[in-house]
Chain length 262, copies 2
């Protein structure tokens, strides 16, 4: 399993991915799922991947080598040449579809899913930051301000906090915090998602540096966040009044009196 | 979609179910999913259901009429005759399997899933309260103290709060509160789960009354719980410090200074 989230807020793009892979619970390994696909003066293109590991690795390998051109002049289409993030998403979609078509029949015979999902985010030239979700068929959607995040993999445990807390105007450091809380909830509920986490933050303001960080199992900030969140959820729960209709169970409640009379 | 939870804590059994059903997003209705299967002086057996509505209704209808006996003497096996909750779970499993076997081939031709899940809980005679999860094949598992809850339907959004907060020793009114928070998180993240909710609480202490309640869209307690929980999650998030590694983006941070120098 896998959990990856991409958040595109006013101040920047945040991508976080776990590293746990498993083929059954007795075959658990750690693989990087947050990748830099292209990095140059004019571009930084990142991707995080979920699904069949062999398919995602092959698709990334193909992207690195370059996809054949349609005019078949021997040249290659790579992410270093695409003029926009939209074209980058299309190229990643093409690679995903090619690998899937190549492998699907053989994998289906083995009853292995060839499904994958990819988040592609980044910036080319002076254009704004973009974030896309590429599906197994190579089609894709773009993240927009109304719901400024995309998730792939084991998405549900960590979605409530994003639904509640993340807006387009959320400051980037707050977004990183919310993203890490979303990972904390997921890791608690699904063993197949685990640290280390990989985190990359691209600022909208180009004068600021890109932040890359690996959050290991002993990361003091994450451990503190996890402990505080747990403690405060408990406190929050405590301060909500108990259901008034349960009062019938109390010694002085009308239900008990009625039951004892009856 | 559907969300149902059963919680079996020291003080009692709590069962909560939503009422929303949908066949596509343009065909949304409200159906009761928390049912009383048998109620008499010596027993109270409840069930909540998720999955194909026609299959669950047919299985419940069959249980009400009674299943044929194996010796085929014309008598019927019903939940009013079973001597234990274990036998009750088996009988519900038999009904689910019979209906599924009857309908599956026809439904598969229409590409409609015949899968269902049932939570069965209650008490027979002087035996303790029990809670079971019955699967589509009629097999089942029993809820135990290590994880004192079972869920069916859209389970993931509401699982983190149960994982964190619910222990076998949690008082029943606290368990009801935690269960409702779990529904609040699910309702926010999935349109296909919605109020009214049905709630039944069976006390371990037989001198206390059974509580049955329908939580409508205008339920003051639920609305207050939802608003408080939202507010306190926001406060909790605010009190967690921002990630220290984001400090490089601040004017006085080392990264900015380095970036400006570079």
């Amino acid at each position: 399993m896998t959990y990856c989230v991409g958040m595109l807020v006013e101040g920047g793009l945040v991508m976080i991915a776990d590293t746990r892979t498993n083929a059954g619970v007795d075959n658990i390994s750690s693989y990087r799922k947050l990748h830099t696909l292209a990095e140059a003066d004019d571009r930084l293109i990142l991707a995080s991947t979920a699904g069949n590991l062999s398919i995602t690795q092959t698709a990334l390998g193909l992207l690195e080598e370059g996809l054949p051109r349609e005019d078949d002049d021997g040249g290659r289409r790579t992410l270093h040449d695409v003029p926009s993030m939209f074209r980058a998403a299309q190229l990643v979609g093409d690679a995903v579809r090619m690998v899937r078509e190549d492998m699907r029949a053989a994998l289906e015979k083995e009853k292995v899913s060839a499904g994958i999902s990819v988040l592609v985010g980044g910036r080319i030239g002076d254009a704004p930051l973009k974030l896309y979700h590429i599906y197994s068929a190579g089609n894709f959607i773009e993240c927009q301000a109304d719901q400024p995040f995309l998730q792939i993999g084991e998405t549900k445990y960590g979605k409530p906090i994003l639904d509640r807390a993340l807006k387009y105007g959320t400051p980037v450091d707050e977004a990183v915090k919310v993203g890490l809380i979303s990972f904390d909830s997921t890791i608690r509920s699904n063993l197949a998602v685990g640290r280390p986490l990989d985190l990359t933050v691209l600022p909208s303001d180009r004068t600021l540096p890109v932040i890359r960080r690996r959050i290991e199992a002993d990361d003091a900030y994450f451990n503190d966040l996890s402990a505080r969140w747990s403690l405060m959820l408990n406190e929050a729960r405590d301060t909500i009044p108990d259901p008034p209709f349960m009062g019938v169970w109390r010694e002085d409640g009308p239900g008990i009196a009625a039951a004892r009379r009856g």
